[in-house]
């Protein structure tokens, strides 16, 4: 049986760990002290690069690589800690803020030291009132103890941290939406490039990093790169040519919710399978797993055929899904996928910032189509279209045949794909919120097409038995293979 490996969360439940003194007893700030005593800033940045740490906020982008894009000669440079955690199914940052805020401060200090940053903004989700209170208290204490402010511990290092509450918009978790909001504007993502690393807060280079990402830094410094890279699998990166190692190192704070007996946050090595994770979370509640959302509500859904999928960045990308924020939602046989999609689409329709045309008007349209189907008003008219499926080469493609499909399902798929195309992974929107909308919409519909069809057919929500609700494993498999060369498919 897989065991949790608690690193970030190791001392989470120690009484009063939120106070400086107790945190100090558990090595608090010693890693930061080690960094400034033993390493040059560039060494720290190199260690982070070598550690293979990937951003935990959603995109899974290599943290060291991101740092390397920051121009060294433009000052000031800012750090924005993304604590806007609002992806449905995600709640791991929150515990850090509420219970162990000094760990985050230590992570921030290490990042600031490595990047020559003097000002950090922590953008906290507005609803996290307790988290903000605890963090503010910790910041105050750190100032008092000389770990923040001017000339920290006599090293000449200056770091200020400001915490800034959000005002209740999911899109302010997107890094450039966050920056706009922080600057006092409407939370609307910016066009990229320029990326924040080059032009961020107040037009200056800015490192945007998730809470969990920053909390990894003390341990990378404290225990060394070698120790860190032993956790988690390493694959050949199929997107590089020639393939290079694609590390999935460290632990991940998996937020497990839904139909498991003991939902909660579990800190585990990257690379465990879905089934293992369900076991860790006290096992399934119910008879059978029907579906698993592996990375927050925007991630494409996995069916019961895919429970062996490893939950790490690379494996999930190859499975045409994503680890995203690590919010894992397990669904048992009683769940209706049409209803689940409706729930998710309501969220996205409400949260679209409205800036760009496809997302502003496409997202509520998708919601309305799903609503109509769920209400039993899906049109029974069918249409003929080219059949995409397992093509001759064994991969998803135009089979050369045609198929009959309910007009509304074609419409649902097409409208979602027009916001952001999940097949080509291209989007016509300003930010990847568009993908976050069309990924669930298209993947739920394609993978659970029988359930959608039954719902339209019967004119009411129909929950099919697990075995009948999904398309065949072959179709499912092929669907995953669209862009992945077959050679790498078996990782």
């Amino acid at each position: 049986m897989v065991q949790e490996r608690r690193i970030l969360y190791e001392h989470l439940d120690v009484p009063d760990i939120n106070t400086f003194d107790v945190f100090r007893q558990y090595d608090g700030y010693t890693r930061f002290e080690k960094a400034i005593a033993e390493y040059q800033p560039d060494d720290v940045a190199k260690m982070v690069m070598d550690s293979g740490l990937k951003g935990r906020g959603g995109a899974g982008f290599s943290t060291g690589l991101k740092w390397s894009f920051v121009p060294k000669d433009i000052k000031p440079c800012y750090l924005c800690c993304n604590a806007d955690e609002s992806e449905p199914g995600t709640f791991s940052n929150r515990y850090v803020l509420e219970k162990n805020p000094h760990l985050l401060i230590e992570g921030i200090l290490i990042c600031c030291y490595a990047m020559g940053i003097e000002t950090t903004y922590v953008y906290i989700r507005g609803e996290f009132t307790l988290g903000k209170k605890m963090l503010d208290a910790a910041i105050k204490e750190a100032y008092e103890k000389g770990y923040l402010g001017k000339d920290i511990r006599g090293t000449g290092l200056n770091v200020d941290i400001y915490s800034h509450p959000g005002a209740g918009a999911y899109i302010c978790g997107e890094e450039t939406g966050l920056i706009e909001s922080l600057e006092g504007k409407r939370g609307q993502p910016r066009n990229k490039p320029p990326f924040p690393a080059v032009e961020g807060v107040f037009g200056k280079p800015t490192v945007v990093q998730n809470v969990e990402t920053l909390c990894n830094l003390p341990f990378i410094i404290g225990n060394g790169v070698e120790w860190y890279t032993q956790m988690g699998p390493t694959y050949a990166d199929t997107r590089a040519n020639p393939p290079t190692p694609d590390p999935n190192t460290g632990t991940k704070l998996y937020c497990i919710s839904g139909d498991v007996n003991e939902p909660g946050v579990y800190e585990l090595d990257l690379g465990l399978t879905c089934s293992e994770l369900i076991e860790v979370a006290g096992g399934l509640r119910g008879e059978e797993v029907k579906a698993v959302i592996p990375g927050g509500s925007s991630a494409p859904i996995l069916t019961h055929y895919e429970l062996d999928t490893r939950l790490d960045f690379t494996s999930l990308t190859l499975a045409k899904s994503m680890l995203g924020s690590g919010g894992i939602i397990v669904m048992n046989e009683t769940r209706n996928i049409v209803d689940c999609l409706l729930n998710i689409m309501k969220f996205y329709a409400h949260e679209s910032c409205g800036q760009c045309t496809p997302c502003r008007w496409g997202t509520p349209w998708v919601r309305d189509i799903v609503q109509r189907i769920a209400d039993g008003n899906g049109r029974k008219d069918t249409m003929t279209r080219p059949k995409f499926g397992v093509a001759e080469n064994g991969r998803w493609g135009d089979t050369g045949e045609t198929e009959e499909i309910y007009e509304d399902l074609d419409l649902l798929e097409s409208v979602a794909n027009n916001i952001a195309n999940v097949d080509t992974m291209t989007w016509n929107t300003i930010c990847v919120f568009g993908i976050a909308v069309s990924w669930p919409a298209v993947s739920y519909m394609r993978k659970f097409r029988p359930e959608f069809e039954a719902t339209i057919q019967e004119g009411k929500l129909v929950t099919l038995p697990v075995a009948e609700a999904t398309v065949s494993p072959e179709e499912n498999y092929a669907y995953q293979q669209r862009f992945v060369p077959k050679e790498f498919a078996d990782l």
Binding site: A169, R186, N191, T238, R239, N241, A349, H350, E351, S352, C353, G354, Q355, C356, T357, P358, R360, W361, G362, T363, P364, W365, D368, I369, R372, L411, V415, N418, N421, T424, M425, T426, W427, N428, T429, I430, F483, P485
Partner: protein, 553 residues
């Protein structure tokens, strides 16, 4: 210069040009809403998607489809030698690929999802980018079955209405108010599909600030759809019934380039016309909405002469003979001829020729609108001199040997007690200050050439009905030395005549030898005789104007 492959064309474009503009220069339309060359570029409408080809993947690599890019923010630049595409191009881009065509149609489909499709009652119909692009790039039927959003119609300010249902949320209007006028009255309220343009309001919906600045009318022009509508033009005419004449605003000495839109029965609206160095895309509301006097029922339509202390209508022959009779009676010294800063260079040239050659007087004056207020905005200035041609009139009136052009107090001193004054006013309803009034009252015989009854015409012994900027051809010289053409749009009302024609008729009756047939002919005479104006034939001036040599600003 960047060497670019645009579709199948090989073109050279200036570094920094975006794809939308580069394509436009070569007659290729890249549809766009949010992009406006006078504003910042949020790239939010996604209408201008194009397919760039920017890199060569290493051999054998699995390359996912490239993102389409927004043409408005894709800027063409010279690439370093080792980054040339196909060995020679700085950029390769297609605006006509299947993917681009599909993306356009898809965006248009989204844009129409909540649109009320009320073109039959929409002012913008016929000049609407949504209509035009849908027609050229869109699908022919809608797949939308759900309920449409119906945001309320809003009154934003003195001249601007928002038909919010038609808004495509391109934010051009917001950016105009932020960047050009700097007044910032507009913003977005609500979020997502409920986004609405609005002015600041209290929670009860009471406006806290109106869209009430002197540049507000520009938002109507730049709104690509029929969402922002001018109350002045509302339901007046279908745009395709309007004739258009390129002209110049007569509202102040900036000299904004305009298009006068008219029908036989009068002017319907005025729109700014792009001029890079003068007004860019904009004009002010004084100029835009100030045209109504042209259409006024009060316009002077017949000559008037004083009979028993009453101004009574008469015919031209009579009015002119009354004047010539009087003029032939008196000494040159006793005549003052006053030209107008509202008049064209041509009007003033004929007037000074009349004074100098026929009346043999060198005493000229310059009359015009009273000094008004200057209004400065971040990217626009409305000048205090409310005359379009002060610079031109001044130079031209004084261009003949020995001419003295008096202005202000010196002029009124001269006018006081003069026997005859021939005043070509040409402005709309100019009030008189006390000293001016006293001076004019003291004149024995006052001839006023004007377009509307005013305090000036009330004092006249003979009134000659002249014409406005919309009824004649000619040129104005603005405060920065640009000589620009105005063009005749409509016929003058009743028996009113073009100002220089009236003056020429008087000259002829007094034995003068002038015989101009059209304004362009006078311009040639100006070019020949007025220093600095040698280049200003109407042909050369064209639609963009000519900047006088030596005018530095």
């Amino acid at each position: 210069m960047a060497f670019v492959k645009l579709n199948d064309l090989e073109i050279e474009v200036e570094d920094g040009t975006n794809v939308v503009e580069a394509a436009r220069e070569h007659g290729i339309e890249v549809p766009h809403y949010c992009y406006h060359s006078g504003l910042s570029r949020p790239a939010n409408c996604r209408m201008c998607l194009v397919e760039p080809h920017v890199f060569f993947p290493p051999a054998g690599a699995i390359v996912p489809d490239r993102q389409l890019a927004t043409g408005c923010t894709t800027v063409l630049r010279t690439a370093p030698p080792d980054r040339k595409l196909d060995g020679k191009y700085d950029f390769i881009v297609r605006t006509d690929s299947q993917r681009v065509q599909k993306a356009r149609a898809d965006i248009l489909e989204f844009l129409l999802v909540h649109h009320p499709l009320d073109c039959p009652v929409c002012d913008q119909a016929g000049e609407c980018d949504l209509q035009d692009y849908s027609h050229r790039h869109g699908y022919d039927k809608s797949r939308y079955l759900e309920v449409k959003n119906v945001p309320p119609k809003k009154d934003l300010g003195p001249d601007v209405l928002l038909y919010a249902t038609r808004c495509v949320v391109c934010t051009r209007c917001i950016r105009f108010a932020d960047e050009v006028s700097g007044t910032g009255e507009l913003g977005l309220v609500h979020r997502g599909s409920h986004d609405e343009i609005d002015i600041p309001r209290s929670h009860e919906g009471v406006p806290l600030q109106l869209l009430d600045n002197k540049l507000a009318g520009n938002v109507v022009d730049i709104c690509p759809v029929g969402a922002l509508i001018s109350k002045d033009f509302l339901f007046k005419s279908r745009p395709w019934f309007l004739e258009k004449a390129n002209s110049v605003c007569s509202g102040c000495s900036v000299g904004c380039n305009i298009t006068v839109e008219y029908k036989a029965d009068g002017l319907y609206r005025i729109k700014p016309r792009f001029h890079e160095d003068i007004n860019q895309h904009w004009m002010c509301d004084d100029g835009r909405l100030g045209y109504h006097y042209v259409n006024s029922d009060d316009r002077l339509q017949l000559p008037l002469k004083r009979v028993d202390d009453e101004l009574t209508p008469t015919h031209w022959a009579d009015a002119l003979s009354v004047i010539t009779e009087r003029l032939s009676e008196i000494e040159t010294e006793d005549i003052v001829v006053i030209g107008s800063a509202q008049g064209t260079n041509e009007d003033n040239y004929v007037l000074q020729q009349f004074a100098h050659d026929v009346l043999k007087t060198t005493q000229l004056g310059l009359f015009g609108q009273l000094l008004g207020e200057e209004h400065k905005f971040p990217q626009f200035t409305i000048e205090a001199d409310k005359n379009p041609n002060t610079a031109g009139a001044r130079t031209i009136l004084g261009s003949a040997n020995g001419n003295v052009v008096l202005e202000g107090d010196a002029l009124w001193e001269k006018v006081s007690g003069a026997k005859v004054v021939y005043l070509v006013s040409g402005g709309s309803e100019r009030p008189l200050e006390d000293a001016e009034k006293a001076a004019l009252e003291s004149v024995d015989f006052l001839i006023v050439q004007d377009i509307l009854p005013s305090e000036v015409t009330q004092l006249a012994d003979v009134v000659l009905p002249g014409t406005t900027f919309a009824e004649k051809d000619g040129t104005f010289t603005n405060s920065t030395g640009w000589v620009q053409r105005i063009r005749k749009a409509i016929d003058p009302p009743g028996e009113a005549r073009v100002d220089w024609e009236i003056t020429q008729q008087l000259a002829k009756q007094l034995g003068g030898e002038m015989n101009y047939h059209f304004a362009g002919e006078i311009a040639l005479a100006i070019a020949e005789n007025v220093p600095g104006y040698s280049d200003t034939s109407h042909q050369k001036i064209g639609d963009t104007g000519i900047k006088l040599a030596g005018s530095d600003q």
